[in-house]
Symmetry: C2
Subunit: 205 residues, 2 copies
DNA sequence: GAACCTAGTTATAAAGCTATAACTAAATCT
DNA sequence: AGATTTAGTTATAGCTTTATAACTAGGTTC
């Protein structure tokens, strides 16, 4: 019984440890004992802060969804459609870098109990991101910054694919280091392709 | 003791059941009991065909890697770089549709024993796909079908992102149905973007 | 400083999963 | 037909993991 911290602090430590371990081991393999050990506690101590293990993941997931939503909200400050688009995409990639367990948790099956809450919450937040990107592209198209001969849904899918590609890369290699630089580069190339001809304008196939 | 099948048949059935269950439940949650039940067997029966559970996954993984390699090999029949590229991408997407557990298994952590074989084998096959796509793009560029002002690596990453996006989509929604139609559409749009200006040629920024 | 609350402990029950041992009977071989 | 092989069975050992119960002591309040 070394140190005794307040419930709020410990709860935060536990979710953080769960998040770290989720990346290291995969969410499914994280045990309450691992979390406890990492914090210098005994396994049952976890249950002083969470009624059950599922609730740990619920908390982790909610925190991550909040970050995604925050990112979407923050991007709305950008008045320029393309700047907004960039903020959305790069912001999300930054989240991947900061919380590399995000893809695994996003993809995680709902634990034990029959609830599908977790998955649907994540899907909801990510769906919001998609909508925001879609809207930004739409705006960029009407303001003539993006080729208007392209389908908005296609453009959206191509842009989002960049983020998804990086997420999958993270799932495979588990190296979050240079995600941003790669992401920025790919985004700029893709945007170049989507914008091209806005300048030329007048050569239709 | 109803029916008694030959070892070869049962082994195949077991790997198939494991593959199906991996998609339904997630590889980590598949138990030997589930596999057995699905085949109308008792749990220990599995061990008449595999020395241990890890070996089931090893077999599944090897089969999937073989398919990936086959796809890469088959695409080499296409002499035209762009047709080859298309065959590589669509072929891989078809694999996702036929074996929707592929992304999960690709991303799966190595089970129990210390071996990292599984992951590295998959990474190897997927790496081969990347190389083949890279080469096809390179060829398409030298033959003037793809804009030569773009970096080959960037193009490769953008094309692969399409596949990765679909893989992640599968991980999230678990609906393999219309992967191909989406994939074909996105690929054609992306290729259009990459080819554009090959016709115009002569307006450099 | 006594009383109270609660973060943390030890001990353990209950459940699920992998794997083995010992046995049984279907198929094959001679 | 009898002997052999082996796919499959029942039973169970052993481990891991979640969760609870009962106790202990740190920190705050009065």
């Amino acid at each position: 019984m070394r140190v005794r911290k307040t419930a709020a602090v410990r709860k935060a430590e536990i979710t953080q440890a769960a998040l770290d371990l989720a990346f290291q081991m995969g969410p499914d393999r994280v045990t309450t004992a691992m979390i406890a050990e990492r914090l210098g506690l005994t396994q049952p101590a976890i249950y002083k802060h969470f009624p059950n293990k599922d609730d740990v993941w619920r908390t982790v997931t909610e925190a991550l969804c909040q970050r995604i939503d925050d990112n979407i909200g923050a991007a709305q400050d950008q008045p320029e459609p393309l700047a907004r688009l960039r903020a959305l995409v790069i912001g999300q990639i930054r989240l991947l870098q900061d919380y590399p367990a995000l893809p695994e948790i996003m993809v995680m099956r709902d634990p034990g109990s029959g609830t599908t809450e977790l998955r649907s919450e994540v899907l909801n937040s990510v769906g919001g991101l998609r909508e925001a990107i879609h809207a930004a592209i739409c705006a960029a198209q009407t303001s003539g910054q993006i080729r208007s001969d392209l389908d908005v849904d296609d453009c959206t899918a191509l842009i989002i694919s960049i983020v998804q590609g990086l997420a999958l890369r993270l799932l495979r290699f588990r190296r979050p280091e240079d995600l941003i630089s790669i992401g920025e580069r790919l985004l700029s190339v893709q945007l170049l392709l989507l914008m091209e001809k806005a300048k030329v304008s007048g050569d239709s196939a």
